[in-house]
């Protein structure tokens, strides 16, 4: 059905910004009643060991608190993610420092603090294995010694042959550190027991339908008896994808036992020390290339540190491995992916989901490859670009919506790349200058929606209801946590319905009212759920037409020879109450995916991007200032340009932090060192470059009005662009994030020695 877009493509105002800017919007801490209890976990003091039990100070008055021990869990002692290997509360083995062994709730924070001091975990310590350096060392010396949480191989062609056909083979290693989400609102979930034994769970979260089964499993309840409501959520970025399920389950157990509302709200230090991080990675690459710049083979070991339990690591590994070969049509590819177990807090979802780590490696490495054959790195990239008709590393033939070259051209033009490069080179020759300038470039891509058969298995459902007054409500489980979904989905609905935007409501989800439209992850909200919203709108119009025997047209409905307005039609159609329609998502036909071989159509559509970054590296201190970034992305049709720009700029800030500033490290005992904003440094206004963000639109037939995925894509390219810019500036490569002044310094010295 063709529809004139009135709202899609327009920067309409966010529905939530008035309240947020005035301080009126209430987050869970602002909502919870004053008489609610506060809860916390009693945690293991060591990263590996055997649980002996609890130590309780006999002087402590236990009558004022509620304690939940593992044997009191009414359901299964498991946090359900992909596998059921993670206990809700550890009973025998402890696998990371801070792993919960019991729970406590108290009427106020002083009593809670006293309880946590008086009741401690008694664990017999063992030697922990922590950190990406230990993983990298094991990969170099004794890869079989590592324990896989998950492993996979992606193969295309014959990589041995591809390397044999090369004129040069360039090898390299790339490491990345864990990254903390640093959403400004720390994790918080609350639970209220209800008289009928059901539970109301509310808080700061991304995926209500992840929380619901998790709570239900541990409490031994039917899932429908666990009502999950999202509150306004102060940032998430993947950090509130899986983790809220854990503390919601804890709050629920404590609420059930105490008979009161219990909130578990972390302070910043606990949040940083005890919540998931972006997977640290170690990537080893061998890239074969001909003299004239044709990449013949990419051979890679991609290893990520999954931490103590499986959680989401298999899907992070799979997305990372699939994206590793980059947007190039390399004929021979092998990626051996491993998510290995260590004694760190389980790593989790973080914007990009494995792809940024993989793309950092390949895009940094391609500059080295270009250098090795004496070719311009941009030309090398252009020679090997994926185009329509080419196949990706998983064997997917691209048929539609591939605008990587247009992004490439746009960035070259907007940054005036060639002239700027000449200027930067000239500047560098001035030895008296305090800093050395550098210019770097990278290409990137991101598959929208769940990988492979994921969307098929999810079978997401979305509903829409119409009231007598002509107002429409989108009933979806997808959450607003800053990205603008509460604005963009109504834009799609209003266009598909042909009604004014202010007639469409999209409240924060509550599982009692909305079907499971799937999690708010994987850049799927606009692309997948937006499509469902569009389909619901058409179904609703059809429903009205059938009820009234009318036909929709622009000014209303044609009914016999008269025309009635949308509002008249709604009033007549809703005589017996509101109308509700529901739709289930269907992937476009013709997509095939083999889960075991990791082959086939990995994603229904890809978004594409190109980026250039300019830096100044202080010659004395090796401090890096990124001064300019030019970024062009193809996300298909842009539904809301202002909000889309906001997504890109925000992701660029996170990528800049990951690349230059942000470092999570572990002590040998397995404790997170950087657990405060004083030590874990995220970008401030003074770290950010001038950002030039533009869009090219290659609409995808399967998306709503042609839209593709957006949220994660712009996380993928800046780190390697900065790597290449720093390399350009100081003629030394820092193949490790964060690229701190110390590491740049060390790389410069090493390069000087070898010259």
């Amino acid at each position: 059905m063709a529809t004139a877009s009135r709202y899609s493509g327009q920067s309409v105002s966010r529905v939530d910004s008035l309240g947020k800017a005035g301080g009126a919007t209430r987050y869970v801490r602002d909502l919870v009643a004053a008489d609610a209890w506060v809860g916390a976990a009693i945690r293991s003091p060591v990263a590996a060991g055997r649980v002996r039990g609890l130590r309780v100070d006999p002087a402590f008055d236990r009558s004022r608190i509620v304690l939940v021990e593992p044997h009191e869990i009414p359901g299964e002692n498991t946090i359900a993610f992909i596998q059921r290997d993670m206990p809700c509360l550890a009973t025998s083995e402890v696998r990371y420092l801070g792993e919960p062994v019991a729970l406590v709730a108290a009427p106020d924070r002083e009593t809670l603090a006293a309880a946590l001091a008086a009741i401690t975990a008694d664990v017999e310590p063992q030697t922990p294995f922590v950190g990406i350096d230990a993983v990298a060392e094991a990969m170099r010396r004794d890869p079989a010694s590592l324990h896989d949480l998950y492993a996979l191989t992606i193969s295309k062609g014959d990589v041995t042959r591809g390397l044999a056909e090369a004129d040069a083979i360039v090898e390299g290693e790339y490491l990345t550190a864990p990254q903390e989400h640093a959403y400004l609102e720390p994790q918080a979930m609350a639970a209220t027991p209800r008289p009928d034994g059901s539970l109301r769970i509310f808080g700061s979260l991304q995926c209500p339908y992840y929380v619901q089964p998790s709570v239900a499993l541990a409490l031994g309840l039917e899932p429908q008896r666990v009502i999950v409501e999202q509150c306004a959520t102060g940032g998430a970025f993947g950090g509130k994808e899986d983790f809220p399920s854990i503390i919601a389950t804890y709050a629920a157990l404590l609420a059930r036992k105490s008979g009161r509302t219990v909130i578990i709200d972390f302070d910043r230090q606990v949040d940083m020390a005890m919540t998931t991080k972006r997977h640290a990675s170690y990537t080893r690459l061998s890239v074969g290339v001909t003299r004239d710049g044709v990449i013949t083979a990419i051979d890679a070991d991609f290893t990520i540190d999954g931490g103590a339990y499986v959680t989401l690591s298999p899907v992070v590994l799979s997305r990372g491995s699939i994206h590793l070969a980059g947007p190039y049509r390399t004929p021979h590819v092998q990626v051996r992916g491993r998510a290995v177990r260590t004694n760190a807090m389980p790593a989790g979802a973080f914007r990009g989901f494995g792809a940024p780590q993989a793309i950092f490696a390949i895009e940094s490495h391609l500059d080295r490859v270009a250098h090795a054959i004496g070719m311009d790195p941009l030309l090398l990239r252009r020679r090997n670009l994926l185009r329509i008709g080419d196949t990706t590393a998983t064997g997917q033939t691209l048929t539609d919506s591939v605008a990587i070259e247009a992004c490439f051209d746009a960035v070259v033009e907007r940054s005036d790349f060639d002239a700027r490069r000449a200027r930067v080179q000239a500047q560098r020759r001035d030895d008296a200058a305090r800093s050395a300038s550098g210019l770097g470039f990278a290409l990137f891509w991101h598959g929208g929606g769940f990988t492979g058969s994921g969307e098929k298995k999810l079978a997401s459902r979305c509903a829409m209801s119409l009231d007598r007054d002509g107002s429409v409500t989108i009933l979806a489980a997808n959450t607003e946590f800053g990205q603008g979904a509460q604005t963009t989905l109504p834009q799609i609905a209003a266009d598909a319905l042909r009604v004014p935007l202010d007639r469409v409501r999209y409240p924060l989800p509550n599982t009692a009212h909305v079907p499971n439209s799937g999690p708010t992850v994987a850049s799927r909200t606009t692309m997948v759920v937006g499509k469902l919203v569009e389909l619901c709108a058409y179904a609703l119009v059809r429903d009205i037409e059938q009820r009234l025997g009318a036909t929709r047209h622009d000014d209303g409905f044609a009914l016999g020879d008269q025309v009635i307005t949308w509002y008249d039609a709604a009033a007549r159609a809703c005589l017996d109450g509101p109308i509700r329609v529901e739709q289930q998502y269907q992937l476009p036909p013709g997509l095939h995916w083999d889960d075991d071989q990791h082959r086939g159509d990995a994603y229904p559509a890809y978004s594409w991007g190109a980026i250039a970054a300019e830096v100044e590296v202080d010659r004395a201190t090796s401090d890096v200032a990124c001064t300019h970034v030019w970024c062009t992305v193809d996300i298909g049709t842009v539904i809301n340009p202002r909000e889309a720009r906001g997504q890109v700029e925000g992701a660029l800030a996170q990528a800049l932090g990951w690349a230059l500033l942000e470092q999570v490290s572990y002590t040998p005992e397995g404790r997170v060192r950087e657990d405060r904003f004083q030590t874990y440094i995220i970008p401030t206004t003074s770290d950010m470059p001038r950002m030039d963000v533009t869009f090219v639109e290659a609409p995808w037939h399967g998306g709503p009005f042609g839209a593709k995925g957006l949220g994660e894509l712009p996380m993928n390219g800046l780190a390697p662009a900065l790597h290449n810019a720093i390399r350009d500036a100081v003629e030394a490569a820092v193949a490790r994030l964060p690229m701190s002044p110390e590491r740049i310094d060390a790389a410069r010295h090493a390069a000087r020695r070898s010259r």
């Binding site: 966010r14 910004s17 400004l184 401030t684």
Partner: protein, 159 residues
């Protein structure tokens, strides 16, 4: 263990408020728990993020590090709830919406307070510098800085 209570009368967002609170309470807690003004947020509790920013007698402060009892009777306090009711705050809010300076919103009240203070007191620094004490993880700051600059320019034009 409980600390003694103290009482203070302050001008909060233009209204005289008499509040009683524990002698060791932080201003942030008094605003949020006693006065039920939840605009100021706790992002870190250590003076690092600026989400709890308020203006106290014309000075920009982080309320998580401000001992409430140290503020004498008659102190003037402006929070995000008050900022939007001023002409400057109203203009600032319009520009924030226009430029896309609001995403998850958790930093926003603190940003609004810091930006309002900047626009009202006109220190000899640019907007970027003025906001360097306020962390935002969502926007990348460009839209926020543009909004504040636009509000400053609009003000200039109006004289």
């Amino acid at each position: 263990m409980l600390s003694p209570m103290v009482e203070r009368s302050w001008h909060v967002n233009g209204t005289l408020a008499t509040v009683a609170f524990a002698a060791d309470a932080r201003l942030l807690d008094v605003l949020r728990d006693t006065l039920a003004m939840t605009g100021a947020k706790e992002g870190c509790g250590e003076g690092e993020c600026g989400a709890c920013s308020v203006v106290v007698d014309g000075e920009l402060r982080v309320s998580c590090l401000q001992l409430a009892a140290a503020l004498p009777d008659g102190t003037t306090i402006t929070t995000a709830e008050g900022v939007v009711h001023s002409t400057t705050g109203e203009r600032l809010r319009r520009m924030m919406l226009d430029r896309g300076g609001v995403q998850c919103g958790f930093c926003t009240p603190g940003m609004m307070v810091a930006a309002w203070w900047y626009l009202e007191t006109k220190p000899p620094i640019d907007a970027r510098t003025a906001l360097a004490g306020n962390l935002c993880r969502c926007t990348g700051y460009q839209s926020i800085c543009e909004a504040v600059e636009a509000a400053a320019n609009a003000e200039e034009r109006m004289g």
